[in-house]
Amino acid sequence: MSDAPVAGLVEMVTALAKGLVDHPDQVRVDADATGESVALELRVAPEDMGQVIGRGGRIARALRLIVREAATRSGVRVSLEIVD
């Protein structure tokens, strides 16, 4: 798989997360690509966890839906884990 779709997905999650948190400098997104699958890990400052998960997980759900749809368009499967 070319690196372009993965880089695009990482940039997308990074930009959204930075917009949501109080400490954008502490946003980190790592990608682990195997075959046609990409596992993304999002890390934020501990006090910002709520801002990327949301009440009832609503923000995390929205993030996953968006990144999954974008990945599908590039023919890639993606998972997004928020790591604490």
């Binding site: 917009g19 948190v21 949301g54 974008a70 368009r73």
Partner: protein
């Protein structure tokens, strides 16, 4: 209407984030943010293939709209800001289709002298249908049932 280079911090943040998101969908997009007042912003994403940002039944654009209001509220330093997001003219097309549906239901209700029950819809979509028929004096609308199965009934006025 605010010029793009006079945007508030929230407007600037949204232009930046949504441009990156569009790029991730393979769309070279233009993002326009308008402060419509009353803590509400209208955001339009345009560009070749912007339909990609709509998703099945608007799932992607609804998710993006929700995150946009969160991003806007944080960048503006708290408060609750509403963001109405459209991409590739989706909302306008959807609204036109709902108004059309409302008018056809009204004609059917009058023709058969009966209640016409529409499919279940979101509160946003139901509001469009109610608004489309509210100025008519020959039909009335009401909603029945519980979310997410709540639906509109159109019937002849007495």
């Amino acid at each position: 209407m605010a010029d793009q280079n006079e945007l508030s911090p929230g407007g600037l943040a949204l232009v930046e984030v949504l441009t990156v998101v569009a790029t991730g969908f393979g769309v070279a997009a233009t993002v326009t943010v308008t402060d419509v007042g009353d803590e509400e912003f209208s955001v339009v994403i345009e560009g070749e293939g912007a339909d990609a940002l709509v998703g099945t039944d608007g799932s992607v654009i609804d998710a993006l709209q929700y995150l946009s209001s969160q991003i806007m509220s944080r960048a503006e330093g708290g408060g609750r800001y509403r963001v109405a997001l459209d991409a590739g003219g989706y909302r306008a097309r959807r609204e036109a289709a709902l108004v059309d549906l409302a008018n056809r239901a009204a004609e059917e209700a009058l023709e058969f002298g009966e209640e016409i029950e529409l499919d279940a819809m979101s509160p946003h979509d139901r509001r469009i249908v109610h608004m489309a028929l509210k100025d008519r004096d020959d039909v009335v609308t009401r909603s029945e049932g519980d979310e997410p199965r709540r639906r509109i009934i159109v019937e002849p006025a007495d």
